[in-house]
Amino acid sequence: MPLKKKKSEKTKIDEILESSRRDFLKKVGIVGAASVAGGAAIYSGYRFEKAKNNEDTIKVLTEDNKLVEIPRDQVKDYKPGLKVFQTRGREGIKGKKWVMVIDLSRCRNARKCVNACQGAHHLRPYEYHINTLAMQESANTPEYFMPKPCQHCDNPPCVSVCPVDATFKRQDGIVLIDNERCIGCRFCMAACPYSARMFHWQEPSATEADKDKQYNVELNVPQKKGTISKCLFSADRLREGLLPYCVSACPNGVFYFGDENENAVTNGTTKETVDLKELLKKNGGYRLMAELGTKPRVYYLPPKNRLFEFKKGPDTEYKETT
């Protein structure tokens, strides 16, 4: 899947400029103090500045593709703040329309997707962004397993009902939740027909460990008590050009993920990239509860010619050992 890594952020150059401005002012202060101290000090200050000018510089590529030179000692690691995360988190990744295809004929309920997701998002074993369900439409139709992430609907009922714009739809199709905004009314949970959302009824399991971390709206980490959490299509991974956690973790090739605009999806297990429309057409792809008009961005391929036997009644109740 041709995911491009984003080079840098707009704010990067701003920060660099800002910091050099600050340094300049500092130096003016030093020079000022030195002039009061006397000529010798002025001289040494002059020498100091001169020495600095000769110092190493480094070439840096700015966001608008300009190569600039700055002193090496002024280079700082770029750490985006909450505002940056929130702004870019709401905008999404330009030009993309993320889409997921789940091949039900391949799922054997390994639950690796669930575990990888819970690990990445610091969730308890019974807190789900993605859950695998044992399904059967009727007595005569086959049983099958169905991984169920958020469907990232194009007409999301959850977003409509949110009173504070905490949950929103991005231009790249992802529905996210900003835990710094959510008031915890749970109207979105009531509205979601896919039961895709979870709520932090208690202190999240990793609160202590995450307490120094910057909140990332594209990861929902640190998780926040009293707010909603949900599947993010691993928006943080997509920003880095990687496949979502669940997609990469699947050992059975269940998940395809990609960009609808490019009409290409990549299988998380085999890393094979295929034509999206053809994949759906050939296999009779469908969307969950299409009749509700929610227009999900997750497609399912029917559990036809299942590659794995449906092992006796699935254990559908959560147990501590899982």
Binding site: V164, C185, A191
Partner: protein
């Protein structure tokens, strides 16, 4: 409310005598008494204890309630719906009956407004107890989005509360002037309050005219607002696709149900004031007889909407509706469902058809049962539809799947009820509970006609 208070009437000796008479009956209950202090102390202590439960919730999160991902709205939301519902009665009595010219509601109107004010005020507060992040309440105003029915609900409940407060207060201004001159043995702050709130009322013909016009406008404005508050509250559910909530008649279904619980609440309050305030002369047996008829009317209306709400999906039995209705009709909620429908609606209506039942005491008893049933009905509306979402509920701990309200949750709910009682007590004990000037004027007119 009375349209005209002519100067002739206001200055007649008979009217003044009647004001003396009525105010001695009404005002003898007004003011701070030993009973009031003991009762308020009791309410305050109980309220404080329940608020302690809420502080636990604040500290530990909503996990101290029985709510979980499957059933994420429970007792708090049911209680909220019940409060909004009950507050609607202010509109029914003062506006619908009042504007239609029903003269007998005069001694009841203010009681109905007290109920409306108390329940609407607390409805606004109880919703906060259901929030995961009550500290972010202001976000509703900073980041509010008009698409969300929650915003509509907040706006209309606030508007209704303000309108009801004005409808309680404005017609009371002449009474406050009367109280000011007569309740001279009350503590200073109360006398000051009467003085301040009566706005130098001098009982002039022109003042009464302005007052009557103002109240008339309010009475008309509050009708759409009242319909809006409960219709919008019903939409919190009806805008979702869930079986049991996905209904086009939820608006009228809720509004008609609201009239039932509100009327029942007013009847209970009437009985209480009649007995403890010794107001049998004003709240006569005939008033209970008439309120009984009102209650029959609104109950039959509500039964009609119940029939629509349950029979039509029950006939079609669409997959998820079938599961939901089976739970109600013969499943886990069957006892509650049929109990509420029979004892809270059908049997009371049948009983009230007998004139001998439409007497104060039996009416009060029936109203208590109907009010309790109304609360439980809201629970049935809110909770069961969440137990069966579209996709199967799997891989959750057992206690996450079935909703059982906890003690803390119940105490916080009790706190809201205590707060309603506190507001009702203050409004009905420190201020005249009936319109003295109106009753006196009506009496005067009646007697002059006789002569």
């Amino acid at each position: 409310m009375r349209d005209t208070m002519t100067g002739q009437l206001l200055n007649s000796g008979l009217y003044k005598k009647k004001v003396d008479l009525v105010s001695s009956d009404i005002l003898k209950n007004v003011g701070i008494s030993k009973g009031f202090i003991i009762w308020m102390a009791f309410l305050a202590i109980a309220f404080g204890a329940c608020i302690f439960a809420y502080t636990i919730q604040l500290r530990k999160g909503l996990g101290v309630t029985g709510l979980r991902d499957i059933t994420s709205w429970g007792m708090y939301i049911a209680n909220f719906v019940f409060f909004v519902a009950t507050s609607l009665v202010g509109m029914l009595i003062s506006c619908v009956l009042g504007l239609a010219g029903a003269n007998w509601i005069k001694p009841i109107g203010r009681i109905a407004e007290i109920i409306a004010v108390a329940f609407a005020a607390v409805a606004g507060l109880v919703i906060i107890s259901d929030m995961g992040r009550p500290d972010r309440l202001t976000y509703l105003f900073i980041f509010g989005r008009v698409q969300s029915p929650i915003l509509w609900d907040v706006s209309v409940v606030t508007t209704y509360f303000v309108l009801s407060l004005l409808l309680w207060f404005l017609p009371m201004i002449p009474d406050l002037a009367i109280s000011k001159s007569r309740l001279t043995d009350q503590p200073g702050f109360l006398k000051k309050a009467y003085d301040l709130l009566s706005f130098k009322w001098v009982h002039h013909e022109a003042q009464y005219k302005i007052l009557s016009q103002a109240v008339r406008i309010l009475l008309i404005l509050v009708i759409p607002t009242a319909f809006a508050i409960h219709t919008v509250t019903s939409w919190l559910f009806a805008v979702t696709p869930r079986a049991g909530w996905d209904s086009t008649i939820f608006g009228p279904y809720f509004v008609s149900g609201a009239f039932v619980s509100g009327t029942a609440a007013v009847i209970i309050a009437m009985y209480f004031f009649r007995e403890t305030y010794n107001l049998r002369k004003y709240l006569t047996s005939d008033h209970f007889e008439k309120m009984g008829r009102v209650l029959i009317l609104v109950s039959v209306l509500y039964m009609y909407f119940n029939l629509n709400e349950f029979l039509v999906p029950g006939y079609k039995l669409k997959a998820l509706d079938a599961i939901h209705l089976k739970e109600l009709f013969s499943g886990k909620y069957a006892a509650l469902f049929w109990g509420v429908q029979l004892f809270g609606l059908v049997i009371p209506v049948l009983l009230m058809l007998f004139r001998s039942i439409r007497k104060p005491l039996p009416m009060m008893l029936i109203s208590i049962i109907m009010l309790a049933a109304a609360w439980l009905k809201r629970f049935i509306i809110v909770v069961p539809p969440q137990a069966h979402p579209f996709l199967p509920v799997q891989n959750f701990p057992a206690e996450w799947i079935i909703y059982k309200p906890t003690l803390i949750e119940s105490l916080v709910t009790v706190a809201s009820m205590l707060l309603v009682l506190i507001i009702i007590t203050v409004l009905s004990k420190l201020f005249p509970v009936m319109p003295i000037w109106e009753l006196a004027a009506d009496e005067t007119e009646k007697e002059t006609k006789k002569m």
